[in-house]
């Protein structure tokens, strides 16, 4: 994600960018050379979904790598089409998620994947709080690599998290800990888990604080900043390196806010973004907005990692935190979330990316869009694209809609 070069002239670059590159560069190097140190330090490598309870894995000294995050890098480096074609030739439908297709493509043809693809996993951990696709995707990976697959099934929450659902998820987490004891040979230590969660909370609160400065006008950050700077909270949650990085970023953003320095020149329109970034067009797409003085001051996507841990024992907290994520909740909940962001950040409008790949994120957006427009009175635009596959992006029609939308603010 930090791989994408900034091409915008009216864009204020972050000086913490170097620290980000260093932090992430170290993580990729560590991950990609896992085969040299994993066994020595008895730290297995797990491929995990973005919504997996990584604190529990860290408590077992497991090193995690994220196929979704690698897929975003593949996309930013223009490798997605070639990788998707590999998996499509192997029989996977073009209607499947482009992260899944490009990841499977990279498994089949690592020579076509940036960074040489992902290092081979020792185990797989999938949690269906973000989508149902991950279950079948990870089953494919488990068969391919012949490694254990652990699944955490988080029931969809149409309303509140019921006691019954809590017990169901908690029981699975306990059973996952038992499995991890067997796989790693390392006993479960609740204190270590508590320590991991404490660090995880620290990084989360730094990310929350950083984002809150964007309530200022002009906003110190724009959507591409948020998307690029979310990389460490996804992959280094609970790590000291991650905490260090977010302190730096927080300090810089805080200073920008104090000096009233905006991310873009001449902020006139404040927008909220909904859905995953359009990685292959990251800068050209958002530039259509920034050059007209429109800044994306916050978003629901990278905001998914700005959620405080639920209370309770470490295991109870994990169960609730990972089940209650917004993608696992009702359209009503998501509409309210967007309404609150529009109010808190004093936004003039919002843009929804109807993401061909991400069905749970996208299918209910039209209902949410109408509800949010009705409740807040601000306009909402729907853009059809894909988070990674550039073949699903039609530049001219997109430009047309964006221009028409921005003209409504004149």
């Amino acid at each position: 994600m930090n791989e994408v070069r900034e091409k915008q002239s009216n864009y204020r670059p972050l000086s913490s960018k170097k620290a980000l590159q260093k932090t992430m560069g170290r993580y990729y190097a560590l991950t990609n050379y896992h085969r040299y140190w994993g066994k020595i330090f008895r730290r297995p490598l797990a491929w995990v979904t973005s919504g997996a309870p990584v604190e529990l894995l860290r408590a077992f000294n497991i090193h995690s790598a994220y196929p979704e995050q690698y897929a975003a890098i593949y996309s930013a480096r223009n490798a997605t089409v070639a990788l998707c074609e590999v998996s499509e030739a192997a029989g996977y439908s073009q209607d499947l998620c482009s992260y899944a297709r490009s990841n499977i493509g990279g498994v089949l043809r690592p020579d076509l994947a940036p960074l040489g693809g992902m290092p081979k996993p020792n185990l797989l951990v999938a949690c269906n709080n973000i989508c149902g696709t991950v279950l079948k995707w990870y089953e494919v990976l488990a068969r391919h690599f012949k490694v254990p697959l652990l699944v955490l099934d988080t029931p969809f929450l149409p309303h509140e998290f019921t006691a019954q659902a809590k017990a169901y998820v908690l029981e699975q987490l306990i059973s996952m800990a038992n499995d991890l004891e067997k796989i790693t040979g390392c006993p479960f230590d609740e204190k270590k888990l508590a320590a991991e969660m404490k660090r995880s909370r620290e990084i989360t609160s730094l990310w929350i604080e950083t984002r809150q400065y964007c309530q200022n006008s002009p906003s110190p950050l724009n959507a591409p900043d948020l998307f690029i700077n979310m990389a460490p909270i996804v992959v280094l949650r609970g790590s000291k390196a991650g905490i260090e990085y977010y302190r730096k970023l927080r300090d810089e953003v805080k200073q920008r806010a104090a000096l009233a320095q905006g991310a873009i020149e001449d902020e006139r329109i404040r927008l909220v973004w909904d859905n995953i970034a359009i990685w292959p067009q990251l800068f050209s797409f958002y530039k259509m907005f920034s050059e007209k003085g429109a800044c994306f001051i916050t978003d629901t996507y990278s905001g998914g990692w700005a959620v405080e841990h639920a209370p309770g024992t470490p295991m109870e907290s994990l169960a609730a935190t990972y089940t209650e994520i917004f993608l696992n909740r009702s359209p009503k909940y998501r509409a309210n979330q967007l309404i609150k962001l529009i109010e808190d950040y004093k936004a003039n409008g919002f843009v929804m990316h109807s993401n061909r790949s991400c069905k749970p994120y996208s299918l209910v957006q039209e209902v949410i869009r109408k509800e949010v427009m009705r409740e807040t009175g601000v306009p909402g635009l729907m853009i059809e694209a894909d988070m990674a596959d550039p073949r699903a992006y039609a530049e001219e029609p997109v430009r047309n809609r964006v221009q028409a939308f921005l003209e409504t603010f004149l």
């Binding site: 039609a394 029609p397 047309n400 809609r401 221009q403 028409a404």
Partner: protein, 259 residues
Amino acid sequence: MPNHYIGVDIGSLTVKVVLIDDDLKIIGQGKERAGYSGRTIAQKLIAEVLAKSGLTTQNVGATVATGYGRVTFSADREVSEITCQAKGISHLFPSARTVIDIGGQDSKVIKLFPNGKVADFTMNDKCAAGTGRFLEVMASALEVDWQEISELVSASKKPTKISSFCTVFAESEIISQVSAGELKADILAGVCDSVASRVASMSRRTGLEPDIVFTGGVAHNDGVVKALAKQLDFSLLISQEPVITAALGAALIAREIKK
């Protein structure tokens, strides 16, 4: 005196030019197939329209370009066709609250505030079903001239059903219907129904509020007009020149810029 204003709409199929005076009166207009270079055609049309009115570029206060070719045309401003369409329609029909526009390669539904500004809009995406191009391809498969469609459709008693959304597959479907001995008029009526149903579904999604104005090249086609009005269960207002409403809106915006 530079007290005339030009709106140029460089669409995917046709280029439209409208010239207005300071009193917002249309004093000249022209349209032609966009062909290879919409920009060249636009320049030619502007020269013709000005010459016909006995004017020169000296008399033009401002020019606004819209449509797909707007970025390549050097105008005082380029404005999206959604904004221009809303402007043109609310000028012609102040009571309009919904605009349904079927152009060459896109169809759109625009909701208007009572002051004529855009409240919301929906467009087709990545698919040319429900557009002028769809109709054109089908007419060509049936060897029917574009202008003849309306007349032929009015003779149809039993429209066939075109189930495919995809233009290419729909063409194959039509060829099978021809082989099966279906009447040309009935097949064409089926084509019009298909365009109308695609656009009707998009209109309902956006939400319909009367008065509803139907515009764009396809509004000339009586077959689609009737099919759409029937499917929406609303009567549709159509201007005398539905093709030029976005260009008119562009000219009106040009005048506002100058003022």
